[in-house]
Subunit: 225 residues, 2 copies
């Protein structure tokens, strides 16, 4: 088998917003759970930016999620009863409805693996929670850097024992695919128009001529056939 | 889930000797295939020893297998028609008969992952070939070192998001379990008395009081229940 499909996970495979909000609502019943989940996620890029720039050494995303929870709780003026436990909300994210079936179909065309900024530990737990059957896990932890750093895509292809052009990055985010293409990978865009809720304005459409564009993973598998 | 079982692969999960010999016989019909496979494997420890000692930087086992094939072919006075292709024999190793069923049962008790000296690429292909359903792949490539170096066990536990004592190393080799125990892991011994053929003298019995001892993976799953 000389082909692989590697997947962005948060937003592309799983609905982090509704899933994290559900866990927030459970432990912080007096907070606007969607607003809290959104604010928590808004800390994601700035916290990784410090690592991408070299200002901070690599730490797994689990640590950043934990730190970003503190920051978000402070902003909302709330005390989280068990912040370690709430951080594990990121291990219990619902896949979009097409993902299980689509992944199984795509897997007949090549290896499938998450290429996420999440850690191996986090991806392992998400896969169990959501019934996602991966061949292996690649991504940020192997490169000790965060997407869209080129090293993440190249290290992931190398770990699969493949050349970059034998690997297709699948994502709902154009910036992720731009970086993957710049690293020599193939690209597939699957929009997730409700990732950020009803008011979403970004990533509704492909911004470049990606190798594949499909409305969901099941259709993507058909397009690849 | 706060428990994981990590597995040695060559010898413990798969019958490398018969499988590699089968591929050798196919491309080198005039050679004693079992002797060739055994000699090829005999280069395994010395080639890793140079990396463990720091004399050479980490390279994946696929490269060592390729180099060791050259050395073995020279000793046997043969020319391998396509050495790249024959090296892939290590990607097509038959699991022992109890492995698929036993792994599935063990997986109900925790995460399961190979902790091999083989690369992620190699483990991914072996899993597809043998129908082995892992949660993720840990082992040498994450640590950029080779077992029994302590870093391999500790890095593997950390990648799973677990403390060493939440992780159980499963192996048919006492030396692997000694090193895992020294790193703080739990240990399980499953002898594979025909790994080295009918004359095998090593690793027929446990040499320490390992946490679990079972004749195969199915029985091991029962012992863990």
């Amino acid at each position: 088998m000389d082909r692989a499909f590697i997947f962005d996970v948060f937003g592309t495979c799983v609905d982090w917003r509704a899933s994290v909000a559900r866990e927030v609502a459970r432990v912080l019943p007096d907070v606007d759970a969607i607003a809290f989940a959104t604010a928590w996620r808004a800390e994601y890029q700035p916290s990784m930016a410090r690592i991408r720039s070299g200002a901070r050494g690599y730490v797994p995303l689990d640590i950043l999620h934990r730190e970003n929870l503190e920051r978000t709780a402070t902003r909302f003026g709330v005390t989280v009863p068990d912040p370690e436990e709430l951080t594990k909300a990121w291990e219990r994210l619902d896949p979009w409805p097409d993902v299980q079936k689509g992944l199984a179909a795509i897997r007949t065309h090549g290896f499938v693996a998450p290429c996420s900024n999440g850690s191996i530990a986090l991806m392992t737990r998400l896969a169990r929670f959501g019934g996602l059957e991966w061949d292996c896990i690649v991504g940020a932890e192997l490169a000790e850097d965060y997407k869209p750093a080129k090293a993440v895509y190249l290290t992931s292809a190398a770990a699969l024992g493949l050349a970059p052009d034998q690997v297709c990055m699948v994502a709902a985010h154009n910036y992720d695919l731009s970086a993957a293409r710049a690293a020599g990978l193939q690209t597939a865009f699957v929009p997730r128009p409700s990732e950020h809720g009803p008011g979403q304005t970004e990533d509704l459409e492909p911004t470049e001529d990606w190798d594949f564009v499909a409305p969901d993973f099941v259709e993507l598998a058909r397009a690849m056939a």
